[in-house]
Every structure is written in structure tokens, then in C-alpha cells.
């Protein structure tokens, strides 16, 4: 196969959708500041593990209880809809193989959902130290009976910080299965749009 002089060219990637506009499955986002950490013992058993409880306490208010923390938030419409895309690699068996015999694969992005609302929690969490315990037998309180989850947030000057990094995206980053993180030459901005560092 000594004919590799030319780099394998990739074909255009189509956004495909097998659902119509009206019937695109709606996904939801629950967004909170910080990172939810799990007790080390449970890190391997995440599947089906309960994170916390969301309660809609009033028309406009939602609370999210994680471990000993309670966050308050609301349901907000997305300013622009988010499409949920799945990267699919297919064998390139189309009859326009005259354009690209050296590349056997074709990549597609399938639209598998749309997000129009999210439940956003951006307040500082309230500590629930005296949270009433459910009526549960107390006989076997193992030493690891504390909350499984705790919320870790980054505080600067007393206010919780949202950091947003924008970067250009190279096509090969999009194609790889790795986490899309874009270039290093991004720009950072704090919650109020000011540069963080």
C-alpha cells in the first residue's frame, strides 16, 4: 500500500435526524455550580446511585438536596435550544466512493434530543446540619454512614465563581472520541464577563 502520498481526506459530516421537528425527544439539564463528589468507597458503584432529591417547593422555586447541602434554583428556558448529538462512525459504502477511496469511514452526527429548559441552581448552598433523620434503625451505623455526596464549590471573595472557557474547535478534535476540549488558546471569563486570570 505505497499509495499513501495523499492524506486521507474526510468527507463532510452531516447532521442527521430521524425524528421530525415536533417529535425530537426532549432532554433535561440540571445545572449546579461546583462539583458533586462521591465518597471514595462508592466511586466504583455509581450506576443507579442516588445523588439527591429535587423538590419543587413552589411554583417558581426548586430545591436540590445533596448530602447535607440544600441548593435553591429555578426552571429557566434556554436562551437558545441545545441539540444533543451523538457521533456515529459508519462504513463509507456510498456510491460517491469516487471522491474518497482512501478513507473507509464516514462520520455522522445524529440528533438524539433537544434541550429547551434546565433547572439551574446558582445559590450558595444552605447547610442542613440538623436535618431530621428518617426513621431508620440506627443499630448498624457504619463509620461510613455520612452522606454519600457532598458538593464542592470554588469560592472567591465570598461569591461562587462560574468559569467559562471559550475556545476554537479543530475538526479533528470533534472527530476523536476524546472529550472535546478545544484549543488551549481560549479565553476565560468570570460570571460577570470579566477576565479571571
Amino acid at each position: 500500500m505505497g499509495m499513501m502520498a495523499e492524506e486521507a481526506k474526510i468527507m463532510q459530516i452531516q447532521l442527521k435526524c430521524s425524528c421530525g421537528e415536533g417529535s425530537c425527544p426532549e432532554w433535561a439539564i440540571i445545572e449546579l455550580q461546583g462539583v458533586v463528589e462521591v465518597q471514595p468507597d462508592f466511586q466504583e458503584q455509581l450506576k443507579n446511585l442516588k445523588i439527591g432529591q429535587i423538590c419543587r417547593s413552589s411554583e417558581d422555586t426548586y430545591t436540590f438536596t445533596i448530602g447535607y447541602h440544600e441548593l435553591t434554583g429555578s426552571k429557566v428556558p434556554m436562551k437558545k435550544p441545545l441539540l444533543v448529538l451523538k457521533k456515529i462512525k459508519n462504513l463509507n459504502i456510498e456510491d460517491n466512493a469516487d471522491t474518497n477511496p482512501s478513507n473507509p469511514f464516514k462520520m455522522e452526527l445524529e440528533v438524539i434530543g433537544i434541550i429547551r429548559h434546565k433547572i439551574l441552581f446558582k445559590t450558595r448552598p444552605k447547610a442542613l446540619i440538623n436535618r431530621p433523620q428518617p426513621v431508620v434503625k440506627e443499630r448498624k451505623q457504619s463509620s461510613k454512614s455520612g452522606p454519600l455526596h457532598y458538593l464542592v464549590q470554588d469560592y472567591r471573595d465570598g461569591a461562587s465563581m462560574l468559569i467559562v472557557v471559550t475556545s476554537m474547535l479543530k475538526l479533528h478534535n470533534l472527530l476523536l472520541d476524546d472529550v472535546i476540549a478545544g484549543h488551549e488558546e481560549g479565553s476565560l471569563s468570570g460570571k460577570d464577563g470579566s477576565r479571571v486570570w
Partner: protein, 399 residues
């Protein structure tokens, strides 16, 4: 009871979250298939682009080292990735195929907790911003193999063994050029490219000159009216002169305008300006550099058919003039050969001349197209404006 920790079911999904009623609550758990799912990404799109997506009319174009670009039928967008430090938990709808849990299991385990599951934490999402189409590459690709005499003569001998290097079909261009279909078509048109045997080609300039000259020669010889050329007759004669019909037709469309056809016979009128500009270009090409204005005008007028205009006004964006001593000199400087990116464009312009009068500069920047930025904005960003007094014309220099 371990029910508090592990849920035996994950029946609920997005609809449980979005439809949560006041004074109700919902457990949130990790989905049984929770994981990085790097094959799932989020893309933010304006509502008005959604019909294009659902009609399969949106593509991501480019080669691996290019910046990712998204194209609809008519517009081009750069794709950025916006990462966030927030935890963005994605909750799929409960009946998502491929992520479905057997409902039977749930019922058997006596699961009746209202719950919803998080399948993935999204590190961020992709956003798009409209950009000008990246068409510079189009000219360089098509210039690899311009259509000339050799191609015309072997036209009838199409074989499979033909060397296809440097030749591009529409499908190839779409993979290489980061522009929407409409913008690509428009780019091909402004390059006067044409399609033959499925390939998009640029006509070699000398060959084009040959065809045009033959056409004008025939007009005189056969007493054709320049204002009403019979397409069939013209193409027929040119074909017998050795020019393939398709190529001759292309020449007509580049230098002529089709007359509104009342009947079924297509008629063409030669476009004086385009013919005139063509000959100006060929005079300058033969001179290979600077020419004295007098000599240029002389040779130009000799080539152009009688009656067609030969004033310098029509050469806007084609030539630059310079006074050296008492002589005026002229040289070719074509707007169409300049890069389309603003920064590069101004850089080349100021290399050519450090100072520009507005009337000279304008033809070289009026086609700059940066969505969201006006021409004034571009001038502010890339030039310094100098005006010695209010009744003098402003002059522009590099910033």
C-alpha cells in the same frame, strides 16, 4: 433498607424533571449507564436554524486541521467550544432507546419512587457564530489544472485511465471548502468557473483569450450583430473552429448577457465592459509589470472592438497608477486576487502602497464581508485615517 442509597430503577427521565409539579419531589440518581459518553455532545443553535437541521440540510465541513465550520444551505458558521465549571447533568427522556431499562424489572423490584437519572456530565457545549465563507482555497484548488487547449483536444477520448489529480467535482469541493452550498456556487460564479464532465474547471486565461478573439473575428467575418448574437449559430461556428461547444458557451456567458428570450431561440448581447476589461488585462499581462500610460492606452484601444469603452474608470479594482517624474505609469493590481480575510487584505494593500486615497482604496475593500462588522468598523480597526483639512480627501495608512 438500602433503598435510600441505590435505586433499583431509573424509570423516570427528563419528563419527570420538566414536569415536576409544585409541592412534589423527585430523586435524582446516576443512570445505570452513567459514564463519560464522549460520543455525546451538545450544540447550541438558534431556533430558526432548527428546520434546516430537521431537513438534513446542515453539515460540518473541512479537513482535520481546519477549524470546525458548520454550514446550512446559505450560511457559514465557525464552531466554538464553550467549557463551563458548572456541573451540567444531562437527563435523557425515560424511553430513550439504547438506554432503556426493562420496565418489568422495575415493577418486580417494587420500584415506585419518582426518580430521574443523569446519564452524563457535559463539560460544555458547542456554539456557532456566523462567518464569511472561506473561499480563498477554491481558487487555488481550481488553479491546479485550468482547462486549456490540451483538454479541449482530448475531450472526445474520455477514458478511465485519465489522471484525475487536481480535478474536482462538486462533491470534492464540498468536502474541501468551508462554505455553504449557495456561497460555494456564488464563489464558483465569481471565479467564472464552469462544469464540464462533472468537474469544475477554471478556463486558462490564454485559451479564453483565444476563444473571445475568435468570436469577435467571426462577428466581423460573418457580419454578426454584437447586440444580438444567435447562440446556435455562434456555438456552431466556434465548434467548427475547434472549440468544444460547452467551452464556447461558457465564454459567451462570461462576456455576454443573455437577452430576454421571447421565443425559443436564445440570443446574447456582448457586455462591452467585460470585453474591454478582458483586453486591458491581457495587455498588462503581456507587459509583465509597469507600463507607461500612453503606451497602455494605445495598445488597449487597438485590441478592443470599435465602439467599446476604453476609459480608466472601468478598470477600477484592476489597476493602479503612479506618477514617476512627469510620466504616469500603470500596472495590474486585481481586487479579485486579494485574500478575503480582512487582516490579510489590509496587510497586502499597505505593502503595495503605504498611503491610500479613499477613491483608490474603495474598490479593493468594498467586497470585504465580515458578518456583523461594517466597512467603517473595518477601516477603524485596520487603518489610520489622516485628513489634513476638511475639504481635502482623507488618506488611509496602516494602523
Amino acid at each position: 433498607m438500602e433503598m435510600e442509597k441505590h435505586l433499583n430503577c431509573s424509570r423516570g427521565g427528563a419528563e419527570s424533571v420538566l414536569g415536576l409539579k409544585p409541592s412534589s419531589s423527585l430523586s435524582i440518581a446516576y443512570h445505570p449507564e452513567y459514564g463519560p459518553h464522549n460520543d455525546i455532545v451538545l450544540l447550541e443553535l438558534d431556533e430558526k436554524l432548527l428546520p434546516d437541521v430537521f431537513n438534513q440540510r446542515v453539515f460540518i465541513r473541512g479537513q482535520p486541521d481546519d477549524d470546525a465550520v458548520l454550514c446550512t444551505q446559505s450560511k457559514t458558521y465557525a464552531v466554538k467550544f464553550v467549557g463551563t465549571s458548572n456541573s451540567v447533568c444531562l437527563v435523557p427522556p425515560s424511553n430513550q432507546s439504547g438506554m432503556r431499562r426493562k420496565l418489568q424489572d422495575h415493577e418486580e423490584n417494587g420500584c415506585d419512587l419518582e426518580s430521574a437519572s443523569v446519564i452524563k456530565l457535559a463539560p460544555g457545549s458547542m456554539e456557532i457564530v456566523e462567518i464569511a465563507p472561506r473561499l480563498d482555497k477554491l481558487k487555488s484548488l481550481l488553479s491546479q489544472a485550468p482547462y486549456g487547449i490540451e483538454d479541449a483536444s482530448e475531450m472526445e477520448v474520455e477514458g478511465l485511465g485519465r489522471d484525475e489529480k487536481g480535478l474536482y467535482k462538486w462533491g470534492d469541493l464540498v468536502n474541501e471548502i468551508q462554505a455553504s452550498d449557495e456561497e460555494l456556487k456564488s464563489g464558483l460564479q465569481s471565479l467564472s468557473a464552469f462544469e464540464i464532465d462533472g468537474y469544475w474547471r477554471l478556463l486558462d486565461e490564454t485559451y479564453m483569450d483565444m476563444i473571445l478573439k475568435m468570436l469577435l473575428h467571426n462577428c466581423v467575418l460573418l457580419d454578426w450583430t454584437l447586440n444580438a448574437l444567435d447562440e446556435d449559430e455562434v456555438l456552431g461556428v466556434l465548434e467548427s473552429d475547434g472549440f468544444p461547444r460547452k467551452v464556447a458557451h461558457h465564454c459567451l456567458s462570461v462576456y455576454g448577457d443573455k437577452l430576454q428570450e421571447g421565443g425559443c431561440k436564445p440570443f446574447w448581447k456582448l457586455n462591452d465592459k467585460r470585453v474591454s476589461v478582458h483586453f486591458a488585462r491581457s495587455v498588462l499581462r503581456e507587459a509583465e509589470g509597469n507600463m507607461k500610460m500612453e503606451r497602455f492606452l494605445d495598445e488597449w484601444r487597438r485590441k478592443v472592438p470599435i465602439g467599446m469603452e476604453t476609459s480608466l474608470e472601468i478598470l477600477e479594482g484592476e489597476i493602479l497608477t503612479e506618477k514617476i517624474g512627469i510620466e504616469i505609469w500603470i500596472r495590474a493590481f486585481r481586487a479579485s486576487s486579494l485574500p478575503s480575510a480582512a487582516a490579510d487584505r489590509f496587510s497586502i494593500l499597505f505593502k503595495e502602497r503605504p498611503r491610500w486615497d479613499w477613491k483608490d482604496l474603495q474598490p479593493y475593500i468594498r467586497d470585504l464581508n465580515i458578518p456583523g462588522v461594517s466597512l467603517e468598523g473595518l477601516l477603524l480597526k485596520y487603518t489610520r485615517r489622516v485628513q489634513s483639512s476638511s475639504h481635502e480627501e482623507p488618506v488611509f495608512t496602516a494602523r
